[in-house]
């Protein structure tokens, strides 16, 4: 059931990304480029997803446990630190340069978009460089 649930969540997420237009890096860059051609529509995508998730999380949190696991695994850290800020700055630089973030790139690869494939190869290299030389722990699960 865990695997099926994960698959279904991914399925819905992937469809949402395509319908929203997040998988078109040119549209993402048009959103991030402020000027005459500015296309702010993606802010509504982010906004509606946040509102939906916010209401849904509050509803789910009334339960003692998730359906197919013994407990919830929410990140428990509340400290804004240099790692968070530096990581977000690097992420913003990369996002603004390529127009891709991880989800849309994964969808793009499945639809044989060569741009997504190039981005994803470099993304994986970036993740592996971090995991190999910069990770303080190997505890990935609590930091998702």
């Amino acid at each position: 059931m865990k695997n099926l649930s994960g698959f279904l969540a991914g399925l819905l997420f992937g469809m949402g990304l395509v319908v929203a237009g997040m998988t078109d890096p040119e549209k993402v860059l048009a959103f991030l480029t402020v000027g005459a051609q500015w296309n702010p529509s993606l802010i509504y995508v982010l906004g509606s997803a946040v509102v939906t998730a916010s209401i849904g999380f509050a509803w789910v949190n009334r339960r003692m446990a998730p359906l197919f696991d013994e407990s919830f695994h929410s990140p428990s850290s509340f400290v804004v630190d240099k790692r968070l800020l530096a990581g977000s700055v690097l992420f913003g630089l990369g996002w603004g340069t390529a127009g891709y973030c991880p989800g849309p790139a994964l969808v793009g690869v499945m639809t044989l978009d060569h741009r997504a494939a190039l981005f994803l190869i470099a993304f994986i290299v970036g993740v592996l460089i971090y995991e190999r030389w910069f990770s303080p722990t190997s505890d990935l699960l609590s930091r998702a």
């Binding site: 695997n3 099926l4 649930s5 994960g6 279904l8 969540a9 991914g10 399925l11 819905l12 997420f13 992937g14 469809m15 990304l17 395509v18 929203a20 860059l29 480029t33 402020v34 000027g35 995508v45 982010l46 509606s48 997803a49 939906t52 998730a53 916010s54 789910v60 990140p75 509340f78 804004v80 790692r83 800020l85 530096a86 990581g87 977000s88 700055v89 690097l90 992420f91 913003g92 630089l93 990369g94 996002w95 340069t97 127009g99 891709y100 973030c101 991880p102 989800g103 969808v107 499945m110 639809t111 190039l118 981005f119 993304f123 290299v125 970036g126 993740v127 971090y130 990935l140 998702a144």
Partner: protein
């Protein structure tokens, strides 16, 4: 739909739908846990299916000038999401929806830096 998918993952598995984290687990930890890999498979299948509803899409032909931005951007996004513990989905959608101060700070930071970067590059 994106918000609904995040709620479903939290309801079913108690997990936050942060794609960068899930992708990293699928890449490095699939022997311990298979659901992250299944999520990624679902993501691809869902995206692929959605194109039938949205309509077929023609990709622009390969343009060599895109090569460096895509590779450079991918490297920074890969490293940055691990260092900053999240990307657009984990911090931007789920984190803010959970009223996490870390995620609010992270999202504001990468949105502002992303806008400065893209706007700056467009002006060059």
């Amino acid at each position: 739909m994106i918000g609904g998918a995040a709620v479903w993952l939290y309801l079913a598995l108690g997990r936050i739908a942060g794609i960068s984290g899930i992708a990293t687990q699928a890449l490095l930890r699939s022997r311990e846990n298979l659901w992250p890999l299944m999520f990624i498979v679902g993501l691809g299948v869902g995206g692929w299916l959605a194109y039938f509803f949205v309509g077929p899409r023609a990709f622009p032909p390969f343009d060599q000038s895109q090569l460096m931005p895509l590779l450079f951007g991918g490297l920074l996004v890969g490293f940055g999401t691990r260092l900053g513990s999240g990307c657009t989905s984990g911090h931007g959608v789920c984190g803010i929806a959970r009223f996490s101060m870390r995620s609010l700070v992270a999202t504001t930071t990468f949105l502002i830096i992303g806008i400065i970067t893209a706007t700056g590059l467009a002006l060059l």
